[in-house]
Amino acid sequence: MDKIKVLVAKPGLDGHDRGAKVVARALRDAGFEVVYTGLRQTPEQIAAAAAEEDVDVVAMSLLSGAHPHLFPAVVKLVREKGMKDALIIGGGVIPDGDIPALKEAGVSEVFTPGTPTGDIVEYIKAHVKK
């Protein structure tokens, strides 16, 4: 009966939400429940929404280059809410060189431009803790 529930979030000030919206729809079409919160979310808001919704996955999209600051900030706050198992993933314009540090900070996977939405669905199915 459990459905996979995903928060799709746009942290920071970046207004490019094409990717986030396409991913949100693809996840919906894969049978997930997707909470979409819109633009300009602070890490605090994302973590609070993730906890209230008790999501299994937090998926962030960012194209502005602020990911080295914002992604780890979200991870930290989500964990502080007691969400030990939530899968945290990110996507957007993220140089390969930045990825190790993001993973080190607790981002499970980073999806760069050109990733098929199907890969994201499969990744979530394989790694989500239900």
Partner: protein, 564 residues
């Protein structure tokens, strides 16, 4: 040959290739017909005069200037700006030294949304996608040793466009250049921010007021300035089709003209300073048709709907940028080829200015080397390719003319639909435009994933790659240093970097407070033009954040309509 004869021979041709064609798999996004003939277009002398005509003549299908690139090439305007005003200033001077003919400023997101660099919400974003501007002092550094009387400057700034324009005017004044000499463009297109780009601040009503205030102020004081760049670029980047790009943008244009007329302006007093901004996408011929169709639609809108009298008011003058969303992170060198084709499309489409993207922009901000290749691409197309040798070279192509007609027709259908919804503002508030764009974006993605649409290196011809090296990185210290300078500025202290560009004394906080209070009062009176008040505030070195917060108090914030 008569039409009947052509039809008969075409039937014969189709029958002869039917079997051979059936063997090939049908590719997605490819027109059904493989061959266009005179039957696909109406090319009587009357239709020619009506729909195509001559360059510089209504309906401007063949271009807005009579001589086009026979007179001079388009403006090669490279969009640039990152980290600090100082670093960006160096990039600008480099581009000018290398044959760039206009400046184009990119601002970071806090600047675009009217926040100071020290605002908590700006954390992590300062200097990232453009340069951070907090006050007039930063603007003085940005244009240090660049003669604003000579250069034309385009600024990608929307919600706080009035503030940045005032800063520009103030810098020019300090250089001894009066505002009637200034040439350039502010994007100033809030509607597409609501619909596609996301850097809005205020609700539609006060935003439209700010825009008409700028129209009015500039028509009297800054007559050479393009007061708006009505942008389809970002609508396309958000996933729209070519027809949707021009349809939604022209619908936005109609809304701006309506607002200005409602504010009491004469259409011919401001319409000549309206400009547009298109995307140059991968499908070369469709893009050329799009440029041509857009000029025809706008000319008709201005003449027939708004009764414009001056030819200038009917001309769709356009800046173009190659499609950022078409750059691939995979095999980034391939992007050089994509940009070259997109450049060809924009040039054959008759653009007035062009920014070419750099090959590494799907990964990070461009390095100096990759920016140089992008600029050279334009120069090769201009000087070597022959594409710029004659005016509107694809006119008369059965395929291109038919596609021009098709795009025009689709655009009119959308404009009608948006009119029925109550205009562009209402259509955005109802989420209609956003939904149409998102549906197209989703379809595109699904087509790519189903390989109905091929992107080389992404879903076909992939290879294992080493991660690219030498990407430009903006240091996190940029934000910290910018915030330090800002703190000193706000405390009324002198700052060495600012002293170097002529701000020898700290700002007077009483003056700042008084100017902001005056601005607030003015904002509360809908009939007051805010530009002189903003200009006054800017000159006291009130910061962008202080000015925008003053306006936020009065105007409130836009609440986005999201439909998925």
């Amino acid at each position: 040959m008569s039409n009947e004869k052509i039809q008969a021979e075409l039937d014969q041709y189709n029958a002869s290739v039917e079997k051979a064609v059936a063997k090939f798999p049908l590719r997605g996004n490819v027109p059904e017909k493989g061959l266009y003939t005179p039957l696909d277009i109406d090319m009587t002398p009357e239709a020619y005069a009506d729909k195509i005509g001559f360059p510089g003549v209504y309906p401007f299908t063949r271009g807005v200037q009579p001589t086009m690139y026979r007179g001079r090439f388009w403006t090669m305007r490279m969009y640039a700006g990152f980290s600090t005003a100082k670093a960006s200033n160096e990039r600008y001077r480099y581009l000018i030294a290398n044959g760039g003919t206009g400046l184009s400023c990119a601002f970071d997101l806090p600047t675009q949304i009217g926040y100071d660099s020290d605002d908590p919400i700006s954390e992590g974003e300062v200097g990232k996608v453009g340069v951070a501007i907090d006050s007039l002092a930063d603007m003085q550094i940005l244009f240090d040793k660049i003669d604003l009387g000579k250069v034309s400057t385009s600024m990608t700034i929307n919600a706080p466009a009035s503030v940045l324009l005032c800063m520009y005017i103030a810098v020019a004044e300090k250089q001894g250049v009066s505002m009637d000499k200034l040439r350039g463009t502010i994007q100033n297109d809030i509607l597409k921010e609501y619909a596609a780009r996301g850097t809005y601040i205020f609700p539609p009503r006060p935003s439209m007021r700010l825009i008409t205030n700028i129209f009015e102020f500039c028509s009297k004081n800054v007559p050479l300035w393009n007061t708006i760049s009505i942008s389809g670029y970002h609508i396309r980047e958000a996933g729209s089709t070519a027809s949707q790009e021009i349809a939604f943008t022209i619908a936005d244009g109609i809304a701006y003209v309506d607002a200005a007329i409602k504010a009491g302006m004469d259409v011919d007093a401001f319409a000549g300073r309206l400009s547009f901004f298109w995307n140059a996408h991968n499908n070369v011929l469709e893009e050329v048709a799009k440029f041509r169709a857009s000029r025809r639609v706008w000319a008709k809108v201005m003449k027939e709907r708004f009764g414009a009298k001056k030819a200038k008011s009917m001309m769709l003058r356009v800046h173009t940028q190659t499609a950022g969303s078409m750059l691939t992170a995979q095999q980034p060198n391939n992007n050089i080829v994509r940009v070259a084709l997109q450049t060809a499309a924009a040039v054959m489409g008759g653009t007035q200015s062009l920014h070419t993207n750099s090959k590494d922009e799907a990964l990070a901000l461009p390095t100096t080397e990759s920016v140089t290749i992008a600029l050279r691409t334009q120069q090769i197309v201009a000087e070597e390719s022959g594409l710029a040798d004659v005016i509107d070279p694809l006119a008369g192509s059965y395929y291109v003319e038919a596609m021009t007609d098709r795009i025009e027709k689709e655009a009119w259908e959308y404009i009608k639909k948006i009119d029925d919804l109550g205009g562009a503002v209402a259509a955005i508030e109802k989420g209609y435009i956003q939904k149409e764009i998102q549906d197209s974006a989703y379809k595109w993605q699904m087509d790519v994933e189903a390989k109905k649409r091929i992107i080389v290196g992404v879903n076909k011809y992939q290879v294992e790659e080493e991660p690219p090296k030498g990407l430009l990185k903006v240091d996190a210290s940029v934000g910290i240093e910018q915030s330090k300078r800002l703190a000193d500025l706000k405390a009324g202290k002198t700052v060495p970097d600012y002293v170097a560009v002529g701000m020898t004394e700290g700002r007077n906080n009483d003056d700042v407070k008084a100017a902001l209070a005056e601005l607030k009062t003015a904002a509360q009176d809908e009939n007051e033009n805010l530009m002189p008040h903003i200009l006054k505030a800017v000159k006291t070195y009130a910061t962008l954040g202080e000015i925008c917060n003053t306006l936020r108090d009065v105007f409130g914030l836009y609440e986005a309509h999201v439909s998925l």
